[in-house]
C-alpha cells in the first residue's frame, strides 16, 4: 500500500515511485512536490534542527495507526505559534500540501502524507501554558499528551475527561482534529464538549483565536465547527479546555453473559432505567479468547459477551446505581456480576478492556479496526450481521466497543502475508460500514473519516450537504493543500492504491444517500 520517494535531479524534487503491484491506474498528481528550494526556505525560517528532509528520516513519518502509508517530502518541528505560522507561510508560497501531525496514533489515516508535502509535527509544542483550577480551565499547546494533561491538573483534584484508548500517547491537538472520544464520553461527551477556544494558524499563515475561555464569546461557534475538522481547516496552536472534578467515588462492574443478545439487551435496559453510566463497554468471545490467556482475569472462555460498566459521583449515588445495574444485568441472565471499588480492583477489571487490542496480536499478526455507530437498540442485530459478513469473507472478527453509545469497533483479523487477504478485509470493512449506515448510524464515531473512509461519506451526506461543508473550508481560507485527500471525497490526485480499491468498493456496495 506504500510508495517510496527518490530524489529526481532533473525536476529538483522527490519523485514518487509506486510500490504496489496492483494494476489500478493512479490519477495524475495534482499537488506540487516539495522542491529543494522549499526545503531550504523551511530551514531558513525554522533552523536546520527543526526540518527533516532525507528519505531515511522521512520514512519514520509515513504511517499512523492505519494500514495506509504515504511518505512526506519534509517534516518540520515547530516549537511556537510563530514557527507554525512561518512554516505554513512557506508551504503556502510554494503551493505544497501541509499535513498537521500529533502523535501519529490516529486510526483513519488523518496524519498520512497522502500526496507528499510538509508534515507539521506538533510534538515539541507540549507546554501546559496555564491551569486555572477555580475556573476549571487549562490552556495547552497541541502537542500535550492527553494523559499528561490529566496528570498535570490532578493535584487540583481535576482531570481532562475525553479518554481515547491511546491517551498515553495521543495529543490534545490530534484529539481536537478528530473530535476524539473514549469510553467515558458516554456521560461526559467527546472532545467537542470540552474545548472552549483555540489559537489557530490559517493556511496563509494568519494567526487568530476562535472561541475563548468561555462559551459566551459573541459570534458563530467556530470552535464547534473546527473540532473534528481533521486538520483540513487550520492548525490549532493553543487550546483552551474545560477541566472536570475527579469524582468522589467510582464503581466498576463486570457482567458476564452467555449470549451477545442478553448483553445488548442489558445495555438498553440500563439506559432505559434512567441511569447514565460514565462508561458502558462490551467485549465479545474473540476478545475474551485473546485476553484471558494473557491476563488470567477469570473470563470464562465459553462466555459470548462481557460488559464493563462504570458509575461515578457521590459515594451514595454510585452504591445506588451499581446495585441497580447489577439487578438489571441479573434480570438479563448475566451469569456473573463483579463489582470493584478500590482502584487496584477496578484496574484489574479494566485491564481486559485496555489490553484487548494488543492481545489480538496473539491470534493474528494484523488487525483492521473499524469504527461505526448505530442506534444502541440496533446493536444485537448489527453485531449478528457483522459476524455474518466476516464469515462470508473467511475472516475472524473480534468486537470490543462502546456499547452505551452504539459505537462499534469490529476488529478484522488477518495475516497480510496471505495473498489477496487485504482485498477481502477492505471489502468486509466496507460492508460493515454500510451495515451501520443502513441501521441509521454513521461511518465513524470517534476515529474520523480521514483517508480511509472518504468515499463512504456519500452514504450519509449528499452533494448539497458536502457543498455547504466546502463553503466552511472557504471561510477558513483553507484550500486543497491543507491536509489534502482527507475527510471528503474531493481533491485531485488523491488516487492512492488503497483508495482506488475503496472507491470501487463504495461504488459496488452502494452510492445512494441515506437520509
Amino acid at each position: 500500500m506504500g510508495r517510496a520517494y527518490t530524489w529526481d535531479n532533473a525536476s529538483d524534487c522527490w519523485e514518487r515511485t509506486p510500490m504496489a503491484t496492483e494494476s489500478d491506474s493512479i490519477s495524475a498528481p495534482a499537488h506540487r512536490p516539495v522542491t529543494r528550494a522549499c526545503v531550504r526556505e523551511l530551514e531558513r525560517v525554522l533552523g536546520h534542527e527543526r526540518v527533516l528532509s532525507t528519505p531515511e528520516q522521512l520514512i519514520a513519518y509515513e504511517y499512523d495507526g492505519t494500514i495506509e502509508r504515504g511518505v512526506p517530502q519534509a517534516v518540520v518541528f515547530p516549537e511556537s505559534t510563530e514557527h507554525v505560522a512561518a512554516a505554513v507561510r512557506v508551504a503556502h508560497r510554494f503551493g505544497v500540501p501541509v499535513i498537521p501531525r500529533g502523535a501519529g496514533t490516529g486510526l483513519s489515516g488523518g496524519a498520512i502524507a497522502a500526496v507528499g508535502g510538509v508534515v507539521v509535527a506538533l510534538t515539541r509544542m507540549k507546554r501546559v501554558i496555564e491551569v486555572d483550577p477555580v475556573n476549571r480551565i487549562a490552556i495547552v499547546e497541541p502537542g500535550v499528551v492527553n494523559l499528561d494533561l490529566s496528570r498535570a491538573v490532578a493535584r487540583h483534584n481535576l482531570y481532562y475527561a475525553p479518554d481515547p484508548s491511546s491517551q498515553r500517547a495521543c495529543t490534545i491537538g490530534g484529539n481536537v482534529a478528530e473530535n476524539a472520544g473514549g469510553p467515558h464520553c458516554l456521560a461526559y461527551g467527546a472532545t467537542t464538549n470540552h474545548v472552549l477556544g483555540m489559537e489557530i494558524v490559517l493556511a496563509d499563515g494568519e494567526v487568530t483565536w476562535i472561541g475563548g475561555r468561555s462559551r459566551d464569546v459573541p459570534g458563530y461557534d467556530l470552535t464547534g465547527a473546527f473540532v473534528g475538522s481533521e486538520g483540513t481547516l487550520a492548525i490549532a496552536t493553543k487550546i483552551a479546555v474545560r477541566l472536570m472534578a475527579l469524582p468522589e467515588s467510582t464503581r466498576t462492574l463486570l457482567a458476564i453473559f452467555n449470549t451477545v443478545d442478553d448483553a445488548s439487551n442489558a445495555v438498553s435496559a440500563i439506559m432505559a432505567a434512567g441511569i447514565l453510566p460514565s462508561a458502558l463497554e462490551m467485549m465479545d468471545r474473540n476478545i475474551i479468547a485473546a485476553v484471558e490467556p494473557v491476563l488470567h482475569a477469570g473470563f470464562p472462555l465459553d462466555a459470548e459477551a462481557v460488559l464493563l460498566i462504570e458509575v461515578d459521583g457521590l459515594d451514595e449515588s454510585t452504591v445506588e446505581h451499581a446495585e441497580e445495574i447489577r439487578a438489571i444485568c441479573e434480570q438479563h441472565a448475566a451469569r456473573e456480576v463483579r463489582v470493584a471499588v478500590a482502584q487496584v480492583d477496578r484496574d484489574l477489571l479494566w485491564a481486559g478492556r485496555k489490553t484487548s487490542i494488543s492481545a489480538l496480536g496473539r491470534l493474528y499478526p494484523n488487525y483492521y479496526v473499524l469504527d461505526g455507530v448505530v442506534p444502541r437498540t440496533r446493536l444485537p442485530d448489527v453485531l449478528r450481521q457483522t459476524y455474518a459478513i466476516a464469515e462470508k469473507y473467511g475472516l475472524d472478527v473480534a468486537n470490543v466497543f462502546h456499547a452505551g453509545d452504539g459505537n462499534l469497533h469490529p476488529n478484522l483479523l488477518f495475516d497480510e502475508r496471505e495473498p489477496g487477504v487485504k482485498e477481502r478485509v477492505l471489502r468486509a470493512g466496507a460492508e460493515i460500514m454500510r451495515l451501520c449506515v443502513d441501521a441509521g448510524g454513521s461511518i465513524t464515531g470517534e476515529h474520523g473519516v480521514g483517508l480511509e473512509k472518504r468515499d463512504y461519506i456519500a452514504w450519509i451526506f449528499d452533494d448539497a450537504d458536502l457543498a455547504v461543508m466546502a463553503r466552511l473550508k472557504t471561510a477558513f481560507k483553507a484550500g486543497d493543500e491543507y491536509n489534502p485527500c482527507k475527510a471528503f471525497p474531493t481533491g485531485k490526485g488523491c488516487g492512492e492504491v488503497t483508495q482506488v480499491q475503496i472507491q470501487r468498493l463504495a461504488g459496488q456496495i452502494g452510492t445512494d444517500v441515506y437520509v
Binding site: N135, N157, G181, G189, T192, N193, T208, W209, I210, S214, R215, D216, V217, P218, G219, Y220, D221, L222, T223, G224, V227, G228, E248, S268, A272, L276, G313, L314, D315, E316, S317, E320, V373, V374, P375, R376, D405, G406, N407, G440, G441, S442, I443, T444, G445, E446, G448, V449, I457, I460, F461, A464, D465, L466, V468, M469, R471, L472, A475, F488
Partner: protein
C-alpha cells in the same frame, strides 16, 4: 425598514409562492405580530413543508427580499435591529415530525415544534432535553436553537450545542443541507450544526433537529439559602460545586431579583438538587452543613413555584443584558453592577459556575438605557468578560452593535456569511458586526 408599500418585487414574490402554499399560508393581516425591533414585515408566510420553505426562500432571493424566520417570537429581541425585513417566515406549521427513540435517548423534531410540547412528550418516557430558557410556553425548537437560549440547567448540562447531534437547514438559495445524524456519537463531516446555534437564522432556516436526551432525575428538591453579600453567596455555590454535590441548577439572585422570586431582598442562592434519592439526600445534608458554616439558613421544598417565578422574572424584557465573565469574577461583577444600577430596578441572576449573569432592567426612560448599557459594558470589559444584549429599546439598538466589539475571528464569520448567504436574504444586519 421595510421597503416601499407597493413593491413590484413583493407582488412578484407573492404570486410565485402562493400556488405552492396552503391558501391561508400567505397573509399580511398578522404582520404586526411578527415585528422585530419595531420593523414590521410586509407579508407573513407559513410554509408547511421543507419543499414549501425551499420555494419561499428561493423566491425571496429572486425578488431580492429580506426574510426572517420566526418561531414562538419569545427571543426576537436578541441581536441587532434588522437592516431590512420584508417577509416573515413563520415556522409554526413545520411541526409534524416527532421521532422519539426512548431506548436510544434521542429525539428528532421539526423546528416549529414548541419546546414545552417536546418536554411534555419526553417526560412521559422519563426523559428530557435539558434546556430551560426563560421564555414561557411559546418558544419553539428552532427559535431556541437560533437564539441559543438557555436557563439555569446550564450549570449541569451546558447549552444547546452540547445536546444537538444533527440538523436540517434550508439556505438562502433554497437548497437544503444537513449535518450530524441521529446517533449520539458521530464525527463524519464538519459539525455544521454547531454554527447554526445562536446564528439568529443568518446562515439558514433550521427545519429539523435531532438531540440526545438526558434521563429525568428520579428525585429532586430545591434549596434556597440567603446571604448578606454576593461574595458569600458565590463562595457557597463554588464550595458546593467543588464538593461534587448532585446539583442541576444553582442561580445566584441579587436582592431585587430575590425579592421578586423569593420575597426576600437578600443575596439568595436557589439550587435544584436532583438525581437518585440517595444522592439527593446526601447533597441536601451537605448543603445544610455548608450553609450553617456560612451562618446562613436553608429552606428546602418542592421549588416548582420558585422556579416558575424565576422564569417569569428573567424573560427578555425592556432591557435585558447578559454579562459573561469567569466564574471567579461573578461575585465582584454582580456587586459592582448592583451599585451601578441603583434606581433602575435591576434584577440579576447568575449561573455562577458558568460565569453568566442575566440582568433585567426597567429604565425610567430610553435615554437612561444607553447609559446603563455603557456602564454594564465597562464593568464586563474590566472583568475580562463580554456583554450581550438580549433585548433593548429600538433607538438604543440602532446606535450600537449589541454583540459588542468585534474580535479577530470576525473575518472568518464574515466570509462564512458571504459563502452561505451572499445576497443577505436571511435576517440581514441582525448578527455580530451587522452581518
Amino acid at each position: 425598514m421595510s421597503s416601499a408599500a407597493a413593491m413590484p418585487s413583493l407582488d412578484q414574490f407573492i404570486a410565485a409562492v402562493r400556488p405552492s402554499l396552503e391558501p391561508d399560508a400567505v397573509s399580511a393581516a398578522y404582520a404586526d405580530g411578527f415585528a422585530v425591533d419595531g420593523v414590521t414585515p410586509e407579508i407573513v408566510v407559513a410554509p408547511g413543508s421543507l419543499e414549501q420553505l425551499q420555494t419561499v426562500l428561493s423566491e425571496a432571493r429572486e425578488a431580492r427580499l429580506a426574510a426572517i424566520a420566526i418561531g414562538g417570537g419569545t427571543h426576537l429581541g436578541v441581536g441587532n435591529a434588522p437592516a431590512a425585513y420584508d417577509v416573515a417566515i413563520s415556522t409554526a406549521r413545520l411541526d409534524s415530525t416527532f421521532e422519539h427513540e426512548p431506548a436510544d435517548l434521542t429525539v428528532t423534531v421539526d423546528a416549529g415544534t414548541r419546546l414545552a410540547d417536546v418536554q411534555a412528550r419526553l417526560a412521559a418516557d422519563g426523559q428530557t432535553l435539558p434546556l430551560d430558557p426563560p421564555c414561557g410556553g411559546d418558544a419553539t425548537i428552532g427559535g431556541v436553537l437560533a437564539s441559543n437560549a438557555h436557563g439555569p440547567l446550564r450549570h449541569a448540562y451546558g447549552t444547546a450545542r452540547d445536546w444537538l447531534i444533527g440538523i436540517r437547514v434550508v439556505h438562502a438559495d433554497g437548497t437544503t443541507s444537513k449535518s450530524g445524524g441521529r446517533v449520539v456519537k458521530n464525527v463524519a463531516g464538519y459539525d455544521m450544526h454547531k454554527l447554526y446555534v445562536g446564528s439568529l437564522g443568518t446562515l439558514g432556516v433550521i427545519t429539523q433537529a435531532t438531540f440526545k436526551l438526558a434521563p429525568l432525575p428520579r428525585a429532586q428538591t430545591t434549596a434556597a439559602v440567603a446571604f448578606g453579600t454576593a461574595r458569600d453567596a458565590a463562595a457557597f455555590v463554588m464550595t458546593a460545586r467543588d464538593a461534587g454535590l448532585a446539583i442541576h441548577a444553582a442561580e445566584l439572585l441579587s436582592p431585587p431579583a430575590a425579592e421578586a422570586v423569593m420575597n426576600d431582598a437578600r443575596w439568595i442562592v436557589l439550587a435544584r438538587v436532583a438525581g437518585g434519592p440517595a444522592g439527593v439526600d446526601r447533597s441536601m445534608s451537605e448543603l445544610g452543613r455548608l450553609a450553617a458554616q456560612a451562618g446562613a439558613g436553608i429552606d428546602d421544598g418542592d421549588g416548582t413555584a420558585a422556579w416558575q417565578r424565576w422564569s417569569l422574572a428573567f424573560r427578555p424584557g425592556v432591557l435585558s443584558l447578559r454579562v459573561s465573565v469567569m466564574p471567579s469574577a461573578v461575585a465582584e461583577t454582580m456587586e459592582v453592577l448592583d451599585r451601578g444600577f441603583a434606581g433602575a430596578a435591576a434584577q440579576m441572576s447568575a449561573t455562577a459556575t458558568a460565569g453568566v449573569i442575566r440582568i433585567n432592567l426597567e429604565p425610567s426612560h430610553e435615554d437612561r438605557a444607553a447609559a446603563l448599557v455603557v456602564r454594564a459594558q465597562d464593568v464586563a470589559a474590566r472583568a475580562g468578560g463580554t456583554l450581550a444584549i438580549d433585548a433593548a429599546p429600538r433607538a438604543l439598538k440602532r446606535a450600537i452593535d449589541v454583540f459588542g466589539p468585534l474580535r479577530s475571528d470576525f473575518a472568518i464569520m464574515r466570509r462564512l456569511k458571504e459563502q452561505l448567504d451572499p445576497q443577505g436574504v436571511l435576517s440581514p444586519g441582525r448578527f455580530a458586526g451587522r452581518l
